[in-house]
């Protein structure tokens, strides 16, 4: 019994949110029940992924390969619970649970109406399920389907507020994201045509054997994948949809979009690049150089745009553009340290950015102020909200004792081992620019006198969510042990092929 449960756990982790998402509309009017179910799914998700990660770290026999429906690999679809999968699953469940907790009381303010709350949760769960699937899947077409599920639920989350701007942002997002998925599907088509496989492992063997016969097709596949996932993960010149979408969405949605959804696409890109093409082919085609360059531009452009925004959520959204640059840049650093640092940075940014969006959201919900310049004295009125915001900012800037520093340190070591000084310099410049756009918020909030208004910290569940996330970034910064270990092993796995 327990054995079969453990053996099927990877599927349960993916199926549970999807299943609940489908049954949720049937009792949309029972708000308490809906919220309870969502939280239950979140808790079970954390427990399940935690157990999987523990197994991956400590047991023999991993990576565990799960064949869907009992069909073995070239014909059936595989789920692989490896180091990378367990790592990203942990990030997804760890961040989505506090977001769900936060949204318990916040959502009625943000989207109104009971049915709207239920609808929000449907898409939230679909997104979580799709992201968990992305973590584990080992099949290219499965990647496409999950990407589409995630994209549609992201668009639905963006449009969940009853505001014309939200619909507009969602439409723009939908059009560009679909363009991106079309490109991704095209890329998958090219890979399938020259290899005849959709399973990543088989496709990888085949493509490394025959790429010299069709270098142009491989080039096409590379570029379709890069641009396709680039649009979806808001890589700099393709980011135009992100600031509108992430700033008009309800705050819990912004948190999960900026914190997790974007990361899911990047994990897919990582899998395609390293598990399908493999690092030797990447270097053969100089794709890693392109990624470093694209990341560099994204960091600089994103940070500078963020500095000019007065709207708090837009500033955070542009900061996401810059941070995506860090991760794309890190994917181009082809060595264990660099990749491990990038993965850790990805996780840490997932925590930090959702924390930033949640605390910004609770400030906006309580005060109605959206602009940075109007936040004078918030720090004294809403001490917990602003304290968590400060912790997240310091972590994003890369101060030691917070998670951002560990990621940056390994990124720096990796880029120097690769002998590449451009990323090294850009990483540092990026963190100074990050200070330039985040510290003014903190200064205004703490060191300017507050207006005479009765503003208070939000309710218990929201405070708890903020504190959990803040604690997570501190813990990851002080004792990252097992988490960093998982990231390092994942990086080693990626470089094995």
């Amino acid at each position: 019994m327990t054995d079969s449960f453990t053996a099927n756990l990877p599927v349960y982790v993916i199926i549970a949110p999807l299943f609940v998402a489908i049954v949720l509309p049937t009792f949309a009017r029972l708000k308490r029940l809906v919220q309870g179910l969502v939280l239950l799914v979140g808790v079970l998700g954390v427990a399940g992924t935690g157990y999987l990660a523990y197994m991956v770290l400590s047991k023999e026999g991993f990576p565990m390969i799960y064949s869907m429906g009992g069909w073995p690999a070239p014909w059936g679809i595989e789920l692989v619970v490896g180091n990378l999968g367990a790592f990203f699953l942990l990030v997804v469940s760890g961040v989505s649970l506090p977001v769900a907790l936060f949204s318990r009381d916040n959502l009625t303010v943000e989207v109104g109406g009971k049915e709207r709350v239920a609808r929000f949760y449907v898409f939230y769960l679909l997104l979580v399920g799709a992201l968990s699937g992305m973590a584990l899947t080992h099949d290219l077409f499965n990647v496409y389907v999950l990407v589409e599920v995630a994209t549609l639920s992201c668009c639905a989350l963006v449009s969940s507020r009853k505001h014309p701007r939200a619909a507009e942002a969602a439409f723009n997002y939908l059009i560009l994201a679909t363009l991106g998925s079309a490109l991704v599907m095209g890329g998958i088509g090219f890979i399938y045509m020259i290899t005849g496989h959709l399973n990543m492992g088989f496709a990888s063997q085949e493509i490394n054997r025959i790429w010299q016969h069709n270098p142009h097709v491989v080039w096409l596949a590379f570029s379709f994948m890069l641009v396709g996932f680039g649009v979806k993960s808001a890589l700099f010149p393709l980011h135009i949809w992100l600031p509108d979408a992430h700033s008009t969405a309800p705050s819990p949605a912004s948190a999960i979009l900026s914190g997790l959804a974007v990361k899911g696409y990047m994990i897919c890109l990582l899998k395609v690049l390293y598990n399908v093409f493999g690092h030797s082919l990447m270097q053969e085609f100089a794709v890693h150089r392109i990624m470093v360059l694209a990341g560099t531009i994204a960091i600089l452009a994103g940070s500078i745009s963020a500095m000019t925004q007065d709207d708090l959520k837009r500033r955070l959204a542009f900061s996401t553009v810059a941070q995506v640059g860090y991760i794309i840049l890190g994917f181009g650093i082809v060595n264990t340290k660099g990749l491990a640092g990038t993965l850790f940075y990805l996780a840490s940014h997932a925590v930090i950015k959702s924390l930033l969006f949640l605390s910004a959201g609770s400030i906006i919900a309580v005060t109605g102020k959206k602009k940075v310049s109007e936040l004078a004295g918030i720090g004294r009125k809403m001490p917990i909200t602003m304290a968590t915001f400060t912790i997240a900012s310091l972590s994003l800037i890369g101060i030691p004792l917070f998670s951002g520093f560990i990621g940056k340190w390994h990124l720096l070591v990796g880029s120097m081992e690769a002998g590449n000084f451009l990323p090294t310099a850009v990483i540092i410049i990026g963190s100074v620019l990050c200070a330039a756009y985040l510290l003014p918020v903190i200064r205004v909030a703490y060191f300017e006198s507050a207006p005479q208004e009765d503003w208070k910290d939000p309710g218990f569940s929201q405070k708890l969510a903020l504190i959990v996330l803040a604690a997570a970034t501190v813990i990851l910064g002080v004792v990252p042990g097992p988490f960093l270990e998982l990231a390092t092993r994942a990086a080693t796995d990626l470089l094995m092929r």
Binding site: Y144, F171, L174, T178, L179, A182, G186
Partner: protein, 127 residues
């Protein structure tokens, strides 16, 4: 030159797919009417479907229904067609969702033109 023309003619489905994809992409990026954008997306996706299905096709192959009378028949590859079935489903749901959003936009702005919406944005938002 002759060789290239030959290749193009032999591989005409791929050629058609590329042209369709470009038409679609151009429509999405240059048209400001929301419906036309959506149509562009659909054309693009059709192009990809064509690419896949053409990739699975074998000239003169039989449809892959196994019967024992033609033991040595050549069958076309059914997998890409099956995959595109999924692709079409996704495409339909994207279209439906986009249409729903267009209706919402039309209700609040009274137009389906992206440029006019951008111009009216501040007025409507302030209300």
């Amino acid at each position: 030159m002759n060789l290239l023309a030959n290749k193009l003619i032999i591989n005409y489905p791929y050629f058609a797919a590329v042209i369709l994809f470009m038409i679609g992409a151009l429509t999405v990026l240059t048209r400001s009417n929301l419906f036309k954008k959506l149509l562009g997306i659909n054309i693009m996706e059709s192009a990809i479907f064509l690419l896949f299905v053409a990739g699975g096709n074998i000239r003169g192959g039989a449809s892959p229904i196994l019967d024992n009378t033609h033991a040595d028949a050549v069958y076309i590859n059914p997998l890409p067609s099956a995959l595109m079935l999924t692709g079409i489903v996704v495409s339909v749901s994207v279209t439906a969702f986009a249409l729903a959003l267009i209706i919402r936009l039309y209700k609040s702005y009274g137009t389906t033109d992206a440029r006019q919406i951008a111009l009216m944005r501040d007025e409507v938002t302030r209300k």
